[in-house]
């Protein structure tokens, strides 16, 4: 029971009664196998909800046409504002996290987005970020690492965010303007996306990688298209060495060769393994499991489902010291509280607002590192207070866009200690003695009704940890 709860608290956005029953009946391994084939999962409920977000599956080009930036003095048709696609993909993220049956896919979409972070609401990324999330990341989140890396490298969102779209061979334009390389993407490609900061690459490696990637850019705005484009005329031809490997001049193919090489380096395997084990097991991850995940990465060519199976079926994952070893990020905290209480999102838009005060507004992380999920990064004094106020607002059914009914957890209208126990049981967490004692006391002596008790239970250490 605790084992299943632990597994679901890491592999999903929070255990629900239904998911606990599923895992109990099928066992962890076969439930995991189903999750790793999300295309076979019946997800009609959330798909219906996503139907209310018309921009969601449009390409960047379609978004550009459907949601144009208004000319000066014009105002856009209602529902056609240029920022709406970004808003809608944010709403979709909440709905998918709350309702999707393919939970592990959503967890991995979130993980890879932070690994391949872009800042959403700026410039052309108002249009490029939604398909980056829904197609580039989500469609490849359970595929292979080399493919995912290549897709991000060719995505307008990444090319824009890390400036590679401007990177050019040394040249002087007819107006006298001098063009040249921009190192930003080449550096983060090695530091954050593949090899890791301590891998030992040099400044020369970065410059060579940047030269290889010159010409990897975005269609010009006047074409009315927004897509990846390789421009031969600004590409710097030449044979370059990057991280010990020589890449012959082959136009765009040279960049693909380099990315494929970086994707499968042992240093990349180590870096990705460290991040995955830290995300799923503990901030201070066990090194033996990292080694196993790294070995599997190299043996399978970066097959993401194999990496996840290695983690979730490992002995280390279930070690007692790793139970509740992590603190929930704002997104996980909020969604898991909805899932545990059976609360519904009626309108996702107003629900985006609280993430500002929780410190991690969706898709708005400015530095390329993405949001951290480490304990000290997710829980400050003000954030804890915001969480305590948020659960209270929610439990009293005053959070716009969310509906929470305590009777779901207390169908028999219990009171006193029975009420406290029923609610704690309903929320599925195994509570420590001290916490349970205070929750019972709140019910019995402090006059807390079911709503106040639910609010309190959702900010117990037992629920904040996972």
């Amino acid at each position: 029971m605790r084992k299943n709860y632990h597994f679901l608290s890491r592999a999903t956005f929070g255990p629900t009664k239904e998911s606990m029953q599923q895992v109990e009946s099928t066992g962890i391994e076969s439930w995991l196998d189903q999750q790793l084939r999300p295309e076979q999962i019946n997800n009609s409920r959330v798909e219906r909800l996503l139907g209310s977000l018309p921009s969601l599956f449009m390409s960047a080009t379609e978004l550009l046409r459907e949601y144009p930036r208004p000319e000066q003095g014009e105002s856009p048709a209602p529902g056609k504002e240029f920022w709406r696609p970004f808003l809608e993909v944010s709403c979709a993220t909440l709905l998918l996290a709350r309702y999707s049956e393919s939970q592990l896919l959503e967890i991995m979409t979130n993980f890879w987005f932070n690994h391949f972070n872009v800042f959403g609401p700026e410039g052309i990324n108002f249009y490029a970020t939604p398909p980056y999330i829904m197609e580039t990341i989500r469609k490849n989140a359970l595929g292979t690492f080399p493919k995912l890396l290549q897709k991000t490298a060719k995505s307008p969102a990444m090319l824009y965010y890390l400036d590679n779209y401007l990177s050019s061979r040394e040249m002087v334009l007819s107006n006298g303007e001098e063009k040249g390389i921009n190192e930003n993407y080449a550096r983060e490609l090695m530091e954050l996306h593949t090899l890791g900061v301590d891998a030992g690459y040099t400044q020369e490696d970065i410059i060579n990688a940047a030269k290889i990637l010159t010409g990897w850019s975005i269609t010009r705005p006047r074409t009315g298209e927004l897509d990846f484009q390789f421009y031969e005329n600004i590409h710097e031809p030449g044979t370059y060495q990057v991280f010990g490997q020589t890449f012959a001049s082959r136009g765009m193919q040279q960049g693909l060769d380099m990315i494929a090489y970086l994707a499968l380096r042992p240093e990349t395997a180590q870096h990705v393994a460290e991040k995955l084990v830290a995300a799923f097991v503990a901030d201070d991850p066990p090194s033996r499991l990292i080694q196993n995940v790294k070995d599997v990465f190299l043996a399978t060519g970066g097959d993401i489902p194999s990496l996840l199976k290695t983690i979730f079926l490992s002995r280390e994952f279930y070690e007692v010291k790793y139970l509740r070893a992590k603190i929930k990020s704002p997104l996980r905290f909020f969604i898991s509280s909805l899932r545990a209480t059976g609360a519904d999102i009626l309108d996702a838009e107003p629900v985006l607002r609280p993430f500002q005060s929780l410190g991690q507004p969706l898709f708005r992380c400015q530095p390329p590192t993405g949001y951290s999920d480490k304990k000290e990064a997710v829980l400050g004094t003000g954030v804890f207070l915001s969480e305590s106020l948020l659960t209270r607002t929610m439990a009293f059914d005053r959070l716009r866009g969310v509906s929470m009914s305590p009777s779901k957890l207390n169908p028999d209208n219990l009171t006193g200690i029975d009420l406290a126990d029923a609610l704690m049981e309903g929320i599925l967490v195994h509570f420590e003695h001290k916490t349970a004692e205070v929750v019972r006391k709140a019910s019995l002596s402090y006059g807390f009704g079911p709503r106040e008790l639910i609010s309190l239970i959702l900010v117990t250490p037992d629920f904040l940890l996972y």
């Binding site: 400036d163 401007l166 303007e177 921009n182 301590d198 304990k375 004094t381 804890f384 205070v438």
Partner: protein, 413 residues
């Protein structure tokens, strides 16, 4: 040996420290402040992203400068969009008029060609080292936290504050600190029912020795003081201070309110982003850097103005993880570099000077042929700030891999 291996070995030698925060703080702290209205205050402002020292404090007198930056260079003083002259060699970016006036009043000093001995050009690594207060070895706690560990433990919940969602790296460690983004939430929690609710949270965390336990207790104490002394709606800036509407200015306003309310603030951190100017950096009049400075300059101006004579005890140290390439890149910006400029604003410093040995911008003087070299280790400056402004007698334990006794002081105190 690779650094990672070295670090593993050294952390084994030290024994691995678990993340325990706030063990110095007893539960149920006293409500009275242990500091008084004259205790020194340090505000550490981190410009995140690597601010371009060469276009912020412009060495227009260096013969190499303008050639390195044909389209984004700041022109000499007296020209359209030109620098604000400081000393005939350096000039300030024209978007920093308030800085210029603090400089002229002797209340601001810069240390140029300052930075880290590490050659890293990774944001993450460079911030990690600067906030850790070390040269190349990674330390578990932050330099400001180690300073707090050497100073008298305080009972004040607002003794050490990160303005933001989480305690930043420089302030994290076993000495207690809190993180808060706004004061409004302290006031949303006023009713009696709410108090009972928050007390229940406190009760269940009373004995927890982990980050949740500490954060829960600190939250209750912050509310208790905040309710009484930190009502943001009642706060009126003084001396005609004009805070802009942006987030940075509102964060500085929180600091001003905390300082004036005398809630025991001793060390505070604030962050400002927008400095990673790889493209469209622009020159003196517009562009990404001008935009970032347009947030920085009025924010600091409003804070100092508002503080009035409280500015006497307040020192602002402005830092950034590295500078940027001396040459502009191929897209009108600059890439990650090395040396840069750091600022100190305080009423009692020997201000009105640009400190540090200028390494020059000739090709042969550039670090690795591309960046401004570092001639002053940032730890030299940080140490002097702690020693002279905060009266810290143990800077060697704050900066364990730096020897202040064998280095020439910057000399701004």
């Amino acid at each position: 040996m690779k650094r990672r291996e070295f670090l593993k070995k050294s952390s084994q030698a030290l024994g691995s420290l678990p993340f325990v925060t706030g063990i110095f703080k007893s539960a149920g702290a006293s409500v009275t402040s242990t500091t008084n209205g004259s205790s020194p205050i340090l505000i550490a402002l981190f410009l995140r992203g690597g601010a371009d020292g060469l276009n912020i404090v412009v060495p227009y007198g260096d013969p190499g400068y303008s050639g390195l930056r044909p389209t984004i260079g700041i022109s000499a003083p007296g020209t359209q969009g030109g620098a604000l002259d400081l000393d005939g060699f350096f000039g300030l970016h024209p978007k920093l008029p308030a800085f210029k006036s603090f400089y002229d009043q002797g209340k601001m000093a810069m240390v140029h060609a300052c930075g880290s001995p590490s050659e890293t050009r990774s944001h993450f690594d460079a911030m990690d080292l600067m906030e850790g207060g070390s040269g190349t070895v990674k330390l578990d706690d932050g330099w400001l936290n180690r300073y707090l560990q050497t100073s008298i433990p305080s009972q004040d919940i607002f003794h050490a504050v990160s303005i933001g969602p989480a305690v930043v790296r420089s302030l994290s460690g076993i000495a207690s600190s809190i993180a808060i983004s706004n004061l409004d939430i302290l006031h949303m929690s006023g009713s009696n029912r709410m108090k009972t609710y928050l007390d229940a949270i406190k009760e269940m965390n009373a004995e927890r020795q982990d980050i949740i336990g500490y954060t829960a207790r600190s939250m209750l104490e912050a509310i208790e003081i905040g309710q009484d002394k930190l009502d943001p709606d009642a706060y009126v800036p003084e001396n005609g201070a004009d805070y802009q509407e942006d987030e940075f200015s509102s964060q500085l306003k929180i600091l001003a309110q905390m300082i004036k309310a005398d809630v025991g603030l001793h060390v505070a951190t604030v962050d400002l982003g927008g400095w990673d100017t790889h493209t469209n950096q622009g020159g003196g009049e517009s562009g990404a850097l001008a935009n970032a400075l347009d947030i920085l300059n009025p924010g600091i101006e409003a804070l100092i103005t508002d503080l009035g004579n409280q500015a006497e005890r307040t020192l602002i140290l402005i830092m950034t993880e590295f500078g940027r390439t001396a040459r502009q890149n191929g897209s009108g910006g600059t890439d990650h570099g090395h040396g840069t400029v750091l600022f100190v604003i305080g009423q009692k410093i020997n201000g009105g000077r640009v400190y540090g040995q200028w390494p020059g911008l000739a090709e042969k003087n550039l670090y690795q042929g591309r960046d401004l070299a570092v001639t002053t280790d940032f730890r030299q400056l940080f140490g002097e700030v702690l020693e002279h402004h905060m009266n810290c007698a143990e800077i060697h334990s704050v900066f364990p891999d730096y020897d202040h006794t064998n280095n020439t002081p910057v000399g701004l105190f």
